[in-house]
């Protein structure tokens, strides 16, 4: 049996066992062993049947999901449409913030009904072409006769039943999660009889654990350690992450915080000039970022998702730096001598974040823009960014699909609809807003992807942000694992690993 035990060192903290508590991968990645979704997003970000075998649009505002037969929860009770209703109700009506993240996914839902045990009808407010995608984030829980399960009860580990391939065994917050195989799983028999996730937040410790064979899989390895890990006999897989890290500019204020001329006098906000933004983006040596800082485990970026993923534009590819051209552009914009700015970012939140600030500083120095890179802890960064204390900063965005990022980062901020949640720079482009809205109304498929690509093309000309890179998720595994299927969303699960042939 020991041979079938899988030991994983993960950076995912798994802060709670409540599947609807937080949308962070930190939670959902590990919980996807226990709970399942109606729809599953595969490694190409395409939707695949999960607990729902098929879905279709009944009308503009109504969706029907057919559920899988003969699925049983870990406690033996059958999975029915009632459980789906319960789950959505729990998210919509029961959970209170801060566990509110999932409400975003149910926002467009007007009502849910269960005409028969294997059918769910979801009515929406207006057209919701991406409802299945939204549902691909939601774990289905079992209806609890005594009412909604509280987070406390779930954390206590008692009522933890899902339909997933592994059953809950034990958990210590921030420490360990142990699972056993669900022998009654509806799908392929899970490969591992036991799975033990050890939460190891220090990358060096994960490297060490993998190097010594103390674990079979370690996730999110630092790129620079890959060579050494390979030498020690472990295998490494990587995939470009479905996300972007970028530099964002303050565009609303008359004077951008931290931006002065060379002698320290305030100047009008230079970022409001498209030429300046273009010059700055042009002058970034993304090659250094991906080759040196990310040791090759990164892809230079020109748009939100790595080229090739649904909704990306093939016209946009990252270019090598063109300092002279950039300098000329700056001069054109009225800054022949450049200016001074403070470049802000979080410390240690994303791979290469702090170093990127410095590499950008090196690049920009070459066009006469002197940069003071400042990295602070993530929470401080967030607070200050939220308070508008920054002029230009390093940000990141990820999502189920490109349009999520497009909307969050670039759509005109609108508290009501929630658009522009990450648009701290207050970029406003009505034409873009309109194009995006149209594209998003399309049904999932090539037309929609094309529309999104066009939107991206359109907006990136304006250079509202300077894309930097898509870093790669790097996982390593030892000899007991035969292969590991990487997922661009960066999930770490036992299902992705298959045992080595004996």
């Amino acid at each position: 049996a020991a041979a079938q035990e899988l030991r994983v060192a993960t950076s995912y903290k798994l802060m709670t066992l409540d599947p609807h508590y937080s949308t962070l991968n930190e939670n959902s990645s590990l919980l996807s062993h226990i709970y399942e979704r109606l729809v599953y997003q595969d490694e190409h970000l395409n939707l695949q049947p999960g607990l729902a075998t098929s879905w279709r649009r009944l009308s503009d505002t109504s969706w029907e999901f057919k559920l899988r037969e003969n699925v049983r929860f870990h406690d033996g009770s059958p999975f029915t449409s009632d459980d789906v209703v319960y789950t959505i109700e729990r998210i919509r009506n029961f959970l209170k913030p801060p566990s509110g993240g999932f409400q975003a996914y149910t926002k467009g839902i007007a009502s849910v009904s269960a005409p028969d045990p294997l059918t769910v009808i979801i009515d929406t407010d207006g057209s919701q072409p991406t409802l299945p995608l939204s549902l691909s984030a939601i774990f289905i829980m079992h209806r609890d006769a005594s009412g909604f399960a509280t987070t406390e009860a779930l954390n206590a580990g008692t009522a933890l039943v899902g339909t997933g391939p592994y059953k809950f065994k034990s958990w210590r917050s921030g420490e360990i999660l142990e699972l056993t195989r669900n022998d009654d799983y509806w799908g392929d028999r899970p490969s591992w009889s036991e799975v033990k996730f050890r939460i190891v937040e220090s990358p060096a410790a994960r490297v060490a654990a993998l190097s010594t064979g103390d674990v079979d899989i370690a996730d999110f390895l630092p790129a620079r350690d890959v060579e050494a890990i390979k030498q020690r006999g472990a295998k490494v897989e990587s995939v470009p992450a479905a996300r972007l890290n970028f530099l964002q500019f303050e565009l609303a204020k008359e004077a951008a915080p931290g931006v002065t001329d060379k002698s320290g006098n305030t100047i009008p906000n230079p970022f409001r000039d498209q030429k300046v933004r273009q010059a700055l983006s042009m002058a970034i040596d993304r090659g250094i970022l991906v080759e040196k800082i990310l040791s090759g485990f990164g892809t230079a970026a020109a748009q939100f998702f790595p080229n090739g993923l649904a909704g990306t534009s093939s016209n946009l590819t990252a270019q090598p730096p063109r300092y002279d051209e950039a300098k000329a552009l700056l001069a054109e914009a009225g800054f022949p001598d450049g200016f001074k700015l403070v470049l802000n970012g979080p410390a240690g939140r994303y791979p290469g974040d702090g170093e990127t600030l410095q590499a950008v500083a090196q690049s920009w120095a070459r066009i006469g823009v002197s940069v003071q890179p400042v990295a602070v802890p993530f929470s401080v960064f967030n607070t200050k960014r939220g308070a508008g204390e920054y002029g230009v900063w390093y940000g990141g965005c990820s999502g189920e699909s490109v349009d999520v990022c497009l909307e969050a980062v670039l759509a005109s901020p609108d508290a009501e609809s929630g658009a522009g949640a990450l648009n701290y720079g207050q970029y406003r482009n009505p034409a873009f807003d309109e194009m995006l809205e149209k594209a998003r109304a399309l049904d999932v498929g090539p037309a929609r992807d094309k529309a999104l690509a066009d939107v991206t093309d359109f907006v990136m000309k304006d250079q509202p942000i300077a894309p930097l890179y898509h870093f790669h998720h790097i996982f390593g595994y030892g000899e007991r694992v035969g292969s590991y299927v990487m997922h661009p969303r960066g999930w770490t699960t036992a299902m992705q690993a298959s045992p080595a042939a004996k």
Partner: protein
């Protein structure tokens, strides 16, 4: 009775201290940043999500009102629920306690015994090779930054030799409501490297203090008189020199032990040891105020108690010391 007044005195002081501590913690966290950004998924949350979360956590209230609420809850014995982990904050701290305790106790015991041992060993052979080795080795041990030391231990003890696991906590047994790993062979194996990483600098520190102190004590008249009395070197060392140098050593042991309980972040992080120090730093970084407050409270209580104990030991050791309340 004097004991009673001392204890009540100390307790009321401790109470005041906790009050001040909680204020510092509260205002500190508030000044650092807004926890709500860590509570919601900042890459997807809408302003509405943020606003609602802020309201629900009561973060929209003026700080003084938040504090009053905190104190009221405290009166009912609750530190509130962790923003991040959604567990009762104090339970969370308590759940980390066994891991921290076994590590800290192990390290401090090793440090105290080996440290004084080495220090005294060196001092009995002044100027010899052993003395020089001890002096030099302790200097070097103190000069290695702790993350380096930890990494070297992992390299030497795990990666290269495979003797010990490179991190993690091994299997545990539940005794007295806590999960203890030192009771299992596997757990003990996991304990070795992190314990060493914590102990080594302290061995060196205590050895240096012991050596330096004894060198000084050896010059005093009463030690000369002890020699004149015909006492054996060992007896002089252990019965006379040791008590006379032990005040600073005990102080350091108390301080370091407290530090290990609360602030062994580096070692805990590198060895993936789920302890209080790591929890605290994470919580500070995430501005998880309930957990920070609970941990700070635990730490203050630990330090107050430890220091009271150390003060008591002063009086046990040195009859001239007057203990204040």
């Amino acid at each position: 009775m004097a004991l009673l007044t001392t204890i009540t005195g100390r307790l009321s002081q401790a109470f005041l201290l906790l009050l001040v501590m909680s204020l510092i913690g509260f205002i500190g966290i508030h000044s650092v940043g807004n926890p709500v950004y860590n509570v919601v998924n900042i890459e997807t949350a809408t302003p509405e999500d943020i606003r609602r979360a802020t309201e629900l956590l009561g973060l929209d209230q003026p700080l003084w009102r938040q504090y009053v609420v905190f104190v009221q809850n405290l009166a009912t014995g609750s530190f509130g629920t962790s923003y991040i982990y959604h567990l009762p904050a104090f339970d969370l701290v308590l759940s980390k306690l066994p891991a921290t305790l076994e590590l800290a106790v192990g390290a401090i015991v090793i440090a105290t015994i080996a440290g004084t041992g080495l220090g005294l060993l060196a001092v009995t052979r002044p100027g010899t090779l052993i003395d020089r080795i001890v002096v030099t080795a302790t200097v070097f041990a103190l000069s290695v930054p702790s993350f380096w030391l930890s990494m070297m231990l992992i390299l030497a003890g795990a990666v290269m030799t495979g003797w010990f696991p490179p991190g993690g906590r091994g299997s545990t047994v539940e005794v007295l409501g806590g999960d203890w790993s030192f009771l299992t062979a596997d757990g003990l194996k996991h304990l070795v490297l992190p314990t060493l990483a914590l102990a080594i600098p302290n061995v060196a520190l205590i050895a240096r203090l012991a050596r330096a102190g004894t060198v000084e004590v050896k010059k005093t008249d009463f030690v000369r008189f002890c020699i004149a009395k015909g006492l054996s070197g060992r007896r002089i060392l252990f019965r006379h020199a040791l008590p006379n140098i032990s005040l600073p050593i005990i102080t350091i042991v108390g301080l370091q032990f407290g530090g290990m309980l609360a602030f062994a972040v580096v070692v805990e992080t590198i060895f993936a040891w789920p302890g209080v120090g790591k929890l605290l730093i994470d919580s500070i970084q995430l501005l998880d105020r309930p957990v920070v407050m609970a941990t700070l409270t635990f730490i203050s209580i630990a330090f107050v108690a430890l220091n009271a104990l150390v003060d008591l030991l002063y009086a046990v050791l040195d009859p001239r010391v007057r203990i204040s309340a």
